[in-house]
């Protein structure tokens, strides 16, 4: 509403600048240790993408530039690597990301029923987020937990030997 006012525009610009993504002090210390683990700085791309995802929740273009800046490489080099790894979120996601494994061993033991149940229970299709932004439901390839199939992860935690009842208990505990 004060669009015409020079001062307000400056204030808005200042606020925008203030929002610019930066690594926290602790993160920067961690980055120092990470970079020192490799003779070539570019090797730290994957660890820094993991760290950035932990800090900011997802990896947008600004984060790519931030990582490139820290490592002294071109943003396109970070972008190229990023494009070949499925673990990183390129867009914001729900507070809880539920990933259901649908690979062979899990599917043999009912992963599809679990997934269908979650879709009905959460009222969303796979690969989408609930309207309140609480949960993103995704399918995922083999999680390396086939002996305890079916398996899903919520954020970084594995939930194994699932049944529909067990899924309900887990959702209740998590607060979904």
């Amino acid at each position: 509403m004060f669009a015409g006012c020079q001062q307000c525009r400056l204030l808005a610009w200042g606020m925008e600048m203030a929002k610019k993504k930066e690594f926290s002090q602790e993160a920067l210390k961690e980055i120092e240790t990470i970079v020192a683990s490799y003779p070539v700085k570019q090797s730290a791309v994957l660890p820094l993408l993991h760290l950035a995802q932990r800090e900011f929740g997802f990896i947008d273009d600004e984060t790519v530039e931030l990582i490139a800046g820290v490592l002294g490489i071109k943003p396109i080099q970070v972008e190229q690597a990023l494009g070949s790894y499925s673990i990183f979120h390129r867009v914001p996601h729900g507070k809880y990301v539920i990933q259901v494994c649908t690979n062979i061993s899990c599917s043999l033991l009912g992963a599809e029923e679990i997934l269908c149940h979650l879709e009905k229970r959460l009222g969303v299709n796979r690969d989408s987020t609930t309207p309140d932004g609480l949960v993103t439901l995704k399918t995922v390839e083999c999680l390396g937990s086939c002996g305890t199939a079916p398996v899903m992860t919520i954020n970084d935690t594995y939930y194994e030997n699932l049944s529909i009842d067990k899924v309900e208990t887990i959702l209740h505990e998590v607060g979904v």
């Binding site: 003779p39 190229q80 061993s105 043999l108 269908c116």
Partner: protein, 433 residues
């Protein structure tokens, strides 16, 4: 009683801590090597033990090590392949989460043998718990002088780093792993040159699987003869078999190489779930050709399984009962490999997408006569025409299920539907239950 080399500590409380590891004789092999053995003697022991790589290819470890050029100045590296990603495989995770010091000792011995001072454990991105366990174990071990500078006063230095992957199957291929570790796209390199001469950062590099390295302390401690007395000729030692699917007791079993599939499934893994009949088994992960009940007495070792037309692979035994639709299995796995294809080679990138389309229409009852021949054709156009083994791996589910269950494919086409109708109609490429 079967001797356990790899899982001997697993199951004990606090098995991941250094005190538990030391009290069961841990780091004694490292001490023995540093005090009494020359690096070449360690290599010789591993050669004599006939240890073969446990990651899938079964290549002799000692021979692989001998490709590292001698007398080259400058750094050289060891990469531990912990990118366990082959569907059905969950064995390395057990070692890393429950007995991380066993792996560290194996790495330390291997690095001592090969005069390597820097090692990277490339662990798959989802194994956050395993990565944390390894990191704490490295800290503990450095604090006690088993890793770091001047280990046990021997002058040997070793730094081990943990590097988490990004959820890409192809990074389990050793040159893609190196690219990924260098911060690039996980895309396999053209070989030669082989990593032993031009590897990580262009330096000589040895890449070994977790389970392979975890065998080294036993070989050094007990001697190669003792190790070679377990298993069968040229297939020595024990193997971790990761059993999943329709069995009563899925899990990781450590048994001598050469144990029969029958014993593994019925004596150890508790037999078939719900008393149903066995239909098919992937004996070494989803990219090894399926075997049928007539193969139950084939010894599970590298050579016997090759003779039976399949492979030991990673030792991931995926068991399917008679309610399983083999077309769905082929479809789901081909979709997986299409998803994981890095896209460098046209036959793999385009061929797998095409195969998925054909398999989808057969499964949906819309297949036409000639579709199976088309699949066989595409498989032969992918086979051996790619940079890395992913192309050859990816065609195996379809190729081997067509070979063993051709009638099932024909039935889908003839009747215009799947005889094993899914319970959830919304599914696309899933297997039902």
């Amino acid at each position: 009683m079967n001797e356990r080399i790899l899982l001997k500590n697993v199951g004990a409380s606090g098995s991941h801590k250094i005190d538990a590891y030391l009290s069961s004789g841990g780091y004694k092999a490292l001490e023995k090597a540093l005090r009494t053995l020359k690096p070449d003697q360690v290599i010789e022991m591993v050669k004599k033990s006939d240890l073969r790589g446990r990651g899938g290819a079964g290549f002799p470890t000692g021979l692989k090590w001998s490709f590292i050029p001698k007398g080259v100045q400058g750094p050289r590296y060891l990469c531990c392949n912990a990118d366990e990603g082959e569907p059905g495989t969950f064995k390395d995770r057990v070692i890393m989460e429950n007995d991380p010091h066993l792996l560290l000792e194996g790495i330390a011995l291997s690095c001592y043998a090969l005069a390597i001072e820097t090692a990277y454990i490339y662990i798959r991105g989802e194994f956050i718990f395993g990565a944390e366990r390894l990191l704490s174990a490295i800290c503990e071990s450095e604090a006690r002088g088993f890793l770091g500078d001047d280990i046990l006063g021997s002058g040997f230095n070793l730094k081990i780093h943990v590097h988490r992957g990004g959820g890409s199957y192809i990074c389990g291929e050793e040159t893609a792993l190196l690219e990924s570790l260098e911060g690039k796209r996980g895309e396999p390199r053209l070989k030669p040159p082989f990593p032993a001469s031009v590897g990580l950062y262009g330096r000589p590099t040895v890449i070994n699987n977790v389970e392979t390295l975890a065998n080294i302390p036993y070989i050094v401690m007990n001697g190669p003869e003792k190790f070679a007395s377990i298993g069968t000729k040229r297939n020595t030692g024990t193997k971790l078999f990761a059993v999943s699917g329709h069995v009563n007791k899925p899990g990781v079993y450590e048994l001598p190489l050469g144990v029969s599939l029958r014993r593994l499934l019925f004596e150890f893994a508790g037999g078939m779930k719900n008393g149903r009949n066995l239909k098919a088994v992937f004996p070494g992960g989803s990219s090894t050709p399926v075997v049928t009940p007539e193969h139950l007495d084939v010894p599970l070792d590298f050579d016997s399984l090759v003779a039976a037309g399949t492979m030991l692979g990673s030792g991931a035994v995926i068991v399917m009962d008679d309610t399983t639709c083999m077309v769905r299995i082929a479809l789901r796995l081909t979709e997986f490999y299409r998803h994981e294809s890095c896209g460098q080679c046209t036959p793999c990138r385009e061929g797998l997408g095409w195969m998925v389309k054909v398999l989808e229409r057969i499964e949906a009852g819309k297949g036409s006569p000639g579709d199976v021949e088309l699949l066989i054709d595409i498989c032969s156009d992918i086979s051996t025409k790619t940079l890395c083994p992913l192309g050859d791996a990816a065609i195996i589910p379809a190729q081997s299920t067509i070979r063993s269950f051709r009638d099932e494919y024909d039935l889908h086409i003839k009747t215009g539907g799947c005889p094993f109708a899914p319970e959830c109609p919304a599914t696309e490429g899933s297997l039902g239950a």
